[in-house]
């Protein structure tokens, strides 16, 4: 295995998908979107991520197809480079270094060698003004080129890419900032400036937010802060310009986009309703409501079949042109604040946290995919800024995952607090949680902690839940059977209310066997017997408010750990009722591993968070990881692994059975890894998956059949060649040939002899190689067969001979193979010559 690999902090859960406008490929088969430092390529049909284009070292701010070549993509980033990609193969073609932070990127079909970017003025961030410049891209064959030929077009414009748009055939560029609309005409080299008054008598807020240009006519659409859309015409005259107003949005217009033909205008905003305005008239509008959350970007596909909207909740919705949702690409929803913390669903081992407003998201970390959303609040969400929404604040699962407790609150003023606790039962039949009990106002003040008793549910123990509240009480809720003769029903009701000198209860937790309950009341920890609800003992050794509380596990179950706000970590022995040890450590998060005795503590000193992993029976931590991240760590959780991993290093043994994930203040989900960067799935196999999963339309049945027949014929001819290439796959020469970009390869005639030589199999190692190869081929065969299962029955008859042929070549590799090889040698020459 790996020798002494250092522990690395790895980011997971992906970055924001809605950072920039997404772009469609020319045939609308792929959707390209910027995601953090990467560009992701999704299939529009299957929602699957096909490629991840990695290379930028900072946030990608703009992506645009190359107007000269539809298979290529430009992307620009804050690291000051523009990169050209082949997105179908996921290969970086070229890098242009500009040297300024690039905030937006535009290309024009007309101007072949120059692109437009928005850069900060004099390269200073503090200055709140930006300029639009055109960059001349030099035509040199090198991989990395410096592009320093900048020419200023517009000065003092907005930073956002939405605030600038290029007009019909690149004749003009429109840009908005504050209360001004600027239009620059390239031919006349003239700027027209159209100001608006800040507010009108009717209380309008005229600040511009975004702009879009009609693709066929001289028309500019602009969005405003008060939800108005203005359509500007005749703007090549300074005075005789006209505009018409469209008003439906009640809040900021976030983005505007014209359809390809310009017949309809799309707009979206906080309301999360996509509005389609036909022919720019106020009466012909269509809506697609309830898209989930604020629409940040809208883009239309070049062939006019799809629109897509990017949302704040890390989601991209692909919409058919008849305004019906076709696909949803959903990442990890990162709200402003994760109030529920990180929780593990014991059933699916998924990470559970706040998702969409009022929802819980179940996120599978192994596949980096959202499993599902559970609607907790079950109320219509009103998209309006400044509205007090119901927040989901606490979540707890019972040990077997059959019960889920949630607490939601809505705080209007200091005094008015709406609290609701809900208990959900897992329904085996529907495979989801169903609401069992709803409790209004479980406490008179905020609920601070929530925990289930971890008893085996198969045993007699009734499910028990404890809530602690700021009102100085903790309450015990038990499941009671209130079924009568005709109807069976179970519900939760309050069994016991406890308090300690009316101090606010801050934390609660059960011991591993469920016999003890520890509740902290401000500076005191109380331990209660969970059968009789008697107070057994209290601990209050170091003064300081208790922030975290947990029991030790397995062999260390006699210890109780607590942290205080004045920087102490204390460990009490429950047998002797005395303080075992304490350490000065400013612990932010204390998290026990459910599968071992280990406890992880994340502390924060002046800057940077440190991780300590220790066992409660000895005060010395066995693993210290300094500076895991710069921000404050808010939550952490151990997630059990499906298969225990063997880790060579003794020091990192604690990571073998469960993985520690933690969430920082900036909503980054991080984890530890001892492995070097994981091998991602090879792009080619991914692509295959996409091809296969194309939907079976009637059209496909007509054409696809024909094509398949052709292909099978080709296979019959070249079947052996396919096998051969597989054999030679591990040859370095072939690898080099296949994996270097075409434009950097030497001439074909030079490569030819190396290529052919590498294809030849020397007679000596044949027997040794055969065994290994056969395995490989078998797997390939299986793949072929599964492929063919999709086809219609008639075609199978056509294919069968070829399969048979393939089998023959595979088994008899000796003489027939040599014959075939010679054949190929002849064929290959002709093919290479064609290059």
């Amino acid at each position: 295995m790996v020798a002494q690999q250092p522990l690395r902090v790895v980011r997971c859960g992906g970055s924001k998908l809605s950072g920039a406008r997404a772009a469609f490929s020319a045939d609308a088969k792929y959707l390209l979107c910027a995601s953090g430092d990467y560009v992701k390529v999704y299939s529009t049909a299957t929602e699957e991520c096909v490629h991840i284009l990695q290379g930028h070292t900072n946030l990608v701010t703009g992506i645009q197809l190359n107007p000269q070549n539809h298979m290529q993509l430009y992307s620009c980033s804050l690291d000051g480079t523009i990169k050209l990609w082949d997105f179908t193969d996921g290969i970086l073609i070229k890098t242009f270094v500009v040297g300024y932070k690039l905030f937006a990127f535009y290309t024009l079909a007309g101007s072949e060698d120059s692109v437009f970017v928005i850069i900060p003025k004099k390269n200073e961030d503090s200055l709140d003004s930006f300029q639009l410049v055109s960059v001349k891209l030099p035509k040199t064959p090198d991989q990395e080129v410096e592009a320093k030929e900048l020419s200023l077009i517009l000065d003092d414009i907005g930073q956002s890419p939405k605030c600038t748009a290029f007009g019909r055939e690149g004749e003009y560029v429109a840009s908005v900032r504050g209360l001004h609309l600027l239009v620059y005409f390239f031919k006349k080299k003239k700027v027209n400036r159209f100001p608006l008054s800040a507010t009108s008598r009717k209380g309008a807020n005229n600040y511009f937010t975004c702009v879009a240009c009609h693709p066929k006519e001289d028309c500019i659409a602009s969005g405003h802060k008060d939800g108005k859309i203005r359509l500007w015409r005749n703007f090549n005259h300074k005075r005789e310009y006209t505009f018409s107003t469209l008003h439906w949005h009640h809040d900021v217009v976030m983005d505007l986009a014209f359809s390809v033909e310009g017949t309809s205008l799309l707009s979206g905003g906080v309301e999360s309703v996509l509005v389609q305005w036909r022919d720019g008239s106020d009466c012909k509008k269509e809506f697609l409501p309830r898209l989930g959350s604020t629409i940040e970007h809208i883009s239309a596909s070049p062939d006019g079949t799809f629109y897509c909207t990017s949302h704040t909740e890390n989601k991209i919705t692909i919409i058919n042109s008849n305004l019906s949702v076709s696909a949803v690409i959903q990442g990890l929803v990162k709200g402003s604040d994760v109030k529920t913390g990180l929780v593990v669903d014991p059933r699916t081992k998924a990470l559970v946290l706040n998702g969409k407003p009022g929802h819980l998201q179940f996120y599978c970390l192994q596949t980096d995919k959202q499993l599902y959303n559970l609607d907790i609040v079950q109320q219509e969400y009103i998209h309006q800024i400044g509205l007090n929404q119901v927040d989901l604040v606490k979540v707890a699962f019972s040990a077997q995952g059959s019960w889920l407790a949630t607490v939601e609150q809505r705080e209007e003023k200091e005094t008015e607090l709406e609290l609701q606790m809900k208990l959900w039962n897992y329904d085996e039949q529907t495979q989801s949680f169903t609401l069992n009990t709803r409790i209004n106002n479980p406490h008179e003040d905020h609920v601070t902690a929530l925990c289930f008793r971890d008893t085996d549910e198969l045993e007699d123990g009734t499910p028990t839940l404890v809530t602690a509240g700021n009102d100085g009480r903790f309450k015990v809720w038990v499941l009671v059977d209130d079924s009568d003769s005709e109807k069976r029903s179970m519900g939760w009701s309050c069994d016991f209310v406890g308090s300690y000198h009316n101090y606010p209860a801050t934390n609660c937790c059960f011991s591993e066997d469920g016999s003890l309950l520890a509740v902290s009341f401000e500076e005191t920890v109380t331990v209660w017997n969970s059968d009789t609800w008697d107070l057994i003992c209290t601990f209050c050794h170091p003064p300081g408010r208790i922030q975290n509380l947990c029991f030790g596990r397995l062999s260390c179950s006699k210890y109780l750990l607590g942290t205080t706000d004045n920087g102490f970590l204390c460990c009490w022995n429950l047998l002797s009722c005395a303080l075992e040890w304490s350490a000065q450590l400013n612990v932010m998060v204390l998290q026990p591993d459910p599968l071992s005795e280990n406890i992880a503590a994340v502390s924060r000193l002046s800057e940077g968070s440190d991780l300590f992993v220790f066992k409660p029976n000895e005060p010395r931590p066995f693993c210290i990881q300094r500076n895991v991240c710069r921000e404050r760590v808010q939550w952490a959780v151990f997630i059990p692994k499906d298969v225990p991993e063997s880790i060579g290093s003794e020091k990192h043994q604690w990571l073998s059975r469960s993985q520690l994930y933690f969430l920082t203040e900036t909503q980054d989900l991080l984890t530890f890894s001892t492995k070097s960067t994981e091998e991602r799935l090879t792009p080619s196999s991914k692509q295959l998956a996409v091809e296969e999963s194309l939907p079976m339309t009637p059209f496909y049945l007509l054409l696809g059949k024909h094509r398949h027949q052709q292909r099978s014929k080709e296979n019959a001819d070249l079947g052996t060649a396919v096998v051969q290439s597989h054999l030679a796959q591990d040859s370095p020469a072939i690898k080099e040939l296949l994996h270097t970009p075409a434009h950097v390869l030497p001439s074909a005639s030079f490569l030819c002899s190396i290529f052919i030589n590498s294809m030849l199999i020397s007679k000596e190692n044949k027997s040794a190689g055969e065994v290994v190869d056969e395995v490989e081929m078998d797997s390939e065969k299986a793949e072929d067969e599964s492929d063919e299962d999709l086809e219609l029955t008639e075609m199978e008859q056509d294919i069968n001979p070829t399969e048979f042929l393939g089998e023959i070549t595979q088994t008899k590799l000796s003489k027939s193979q040599e014959k075939q090889l010679r054949k190929i040698r002849r064929m290959d020459y002709s093919w290479v010559a064609a290059l």
Binding site: Q379, E380, Q384, L387, K475, G498
Partner: protein, 476 residues
């Protein structure tokens, strides 16, 4: 995409009794028939043979009523003073009664005059009954004796004088293993066969239990008491499964065979008769013609073939009227709709108000109302503002209404009156709450003295554990 989510109407736990099979059974009686007697009804007895007439002993008369007649079929009034305990024989043809003057009389049902007259007791005879051999009569009197009489010869067979007090209650053996005895507020059940072992003691009445009665199946025991309740117990669990309320203290109680009729006699001389409802009365109304079964399954059971192209029909969700209005953001209209519902479902009205408040448009919905609309709103508030489940929301609504309509107060007499009424109700509620808090404080002090031995303040609360916080006064 996600569809509109309708307003969640909170369901509150139903207070009071739960609906069980028993409550349904015992509630299935018609409205009672009240018959006025001359004095307190001390005994009711059903004839064991059909048509199950019943003898009612009240004052100096014994009335015999038929099943449906409210007038007595027959009256025996040969008593100088009060008659007691008219009881049928097993075959329903003879009736025996004791009396205040100490004479036991035996009547034939068809005749008018007494067949036999048994003299011998010196004081009032309160208890008489036939023995199981049909030819002897047992009697108990206030002269501390109980006697057995022979019917054919009209002579005294034996006299027991072991009692040291009035004999007021007695029972002849009918091969029943359990004996029910009432004493004071308790109903006690003894097992005779086990040598008089006390099975259970029922303490569900708070005044003296005066009469007991078994239902025809023997599964239920009914007890009537001076506290004006009749309670029905299950004889397997001895738990109260149902109870009836009456206007006056109950002296006697009888149940017809098959539980067809419950007759209750009270101290004020009113005889209360309840007959069982019968199901067949419902079927008299002709059933409405409904579309046939085939209409509903048409096309549903069609199995799609391989080449069929399946077009799924979108599921239409049916929204309530207020939900439809809320969906289109017509807040005032939505509020009007739920207020119009004539206060049948205040939960829905309050739920819609809550939803409007959450959307931040409650003030808009409340404002701009004319006199009639406002008076409906105020009437709703007056009715429900003190109900604890709605109070938090309605107090907020009341505050808003006062804020909005304060400038126009005094322009309409109707509205002003309602405002004053609201103020009155709220002041009364505040007084109640203050009183309740006082009581709570007293109880806390009591509990504190009881649990002083423990070092910590333990507070056990078996119910919900939430106190009602005194509501803030809103008055104009």
């Amino acid at each position: 995409m996600a569809s509109y989510k309708p307003v969640v109407v909170q369901s509150f736990p139903k207070l009071g009794e739960k609906i069980t099979q028993d409550t349904l059974y015992w509630k299935n009686y018609k409205t009672p028939v009240q018959i006025k007697e001359f004095g307190a009804v001390n005994k009711i007895d059903f004839s064991p043979i059909p048509p199950h007439n019943y003898a009612v002993t009240a004052s100096s008369r014994i009335h015999i009523y038929g099943r449906y007649s409210q007038e007595p079929i027959k009256t025996f009034s040969r008593f100088k003073d009060a008659a007691y305990c008219a009881t049928y024989r097993d075959d329903g043809r003879l009736l025996v009664a004791g009396s205040e003057e100490g004479v036991v009389r035996l009547f034939d049902i068809s005749g008018r005059a007494a067949l036999r007259q048994f003299d011998g007791h010196t004081k009032a005879v309160h208890v008489v009954d036939f023995l199981s051999d049909k030819y002897r009569i047992f009697s108990g009197a206030d002269d501390y004796t109980s006697k057995l009489w022979d019917i054919p010869s009209a002579t005294e067979i034996v006299s027991y004088s072991e009692h040291t007090d009035y004999v007021r209650c007695g029972c002849t053996s009918k091969l029943n293993t359990d004996l029910f005895v009432t004493g004071g507020r308790y109903v006690k059940v003894w097992d005779i066969l086990k040598g008089g072992q006390l099975l259970v003691s029922l303490k569900n009445h708070h005044k003296t239990v005066t009469c007991l009665c078994l239902s025809s199946s023997g599964q239920r025991l009914l007890s009537g008491s001076l506290d004006r309740h009749v309670k029905v117990y299950s004889t397997t669990s001895y738990k109260v499964v149902h109870s009836f309320d009456y206007a006056a203290s109950i002296l006697s109680l009888a149940l017809a065979p098959e539980d067809e009729t419950i007759v209750v006699g009270m101290t004020n001389g009113v005889l209360n008769v309840r007959h069982r409802k019968h199901e067949e009365s419902k079927e008299r109304f002709p059933k409405k013609k409904r579309p046939g079964y085939r209409t509903f399954v048409k096309g549903r059971n069609y199995m799609p073939k391989q080449e069929d192209f399946f077009v799924s029909k979108p599921v239409r969700s049916h929204l309530k009227k207020y939900d439809k209005l809320l969906k289109s953001f017509q807040v005032s209209k939505a509020l009007d709709v739920v207020l119009e519902a004539r206060n049948r479902t205040p939960e829905i009205t309050v739920a819609v108000m809550q939803e409007l408040n959450r959307r931040g448009t409650l003030k808009n919905a409340l404002a701009g109302r004319d006199e009639t609309q406002l008076s409906i709103l105020l009437a709703f508030l007056i009715r429900y503002v003190v109900e604890p489940r709605f109070a938090p929301m309605l107090i907020k609504v009341a505050e808003m209404i006062i804020d909005i309509y304060l400038p126009v107060v005094g322009q309409s007499a109707v509205i002003d009156k309602q405002f004053l009424r609201l103020q009155e109700i709220i002041e009364k509620e505040i007084d109640y709450q203050a009183e309740l808090l006082e009581v709570l404080g007293m109880m806390d002090a009591l509990f504190a003295t009881m649990t002083r031995k423990k070092a910590t303040s333990l507070e056990e609360n078996k119910t919900h554990g939430i106190l009602r916080v005194p509501e803030q006064a809103t008055s104009n």
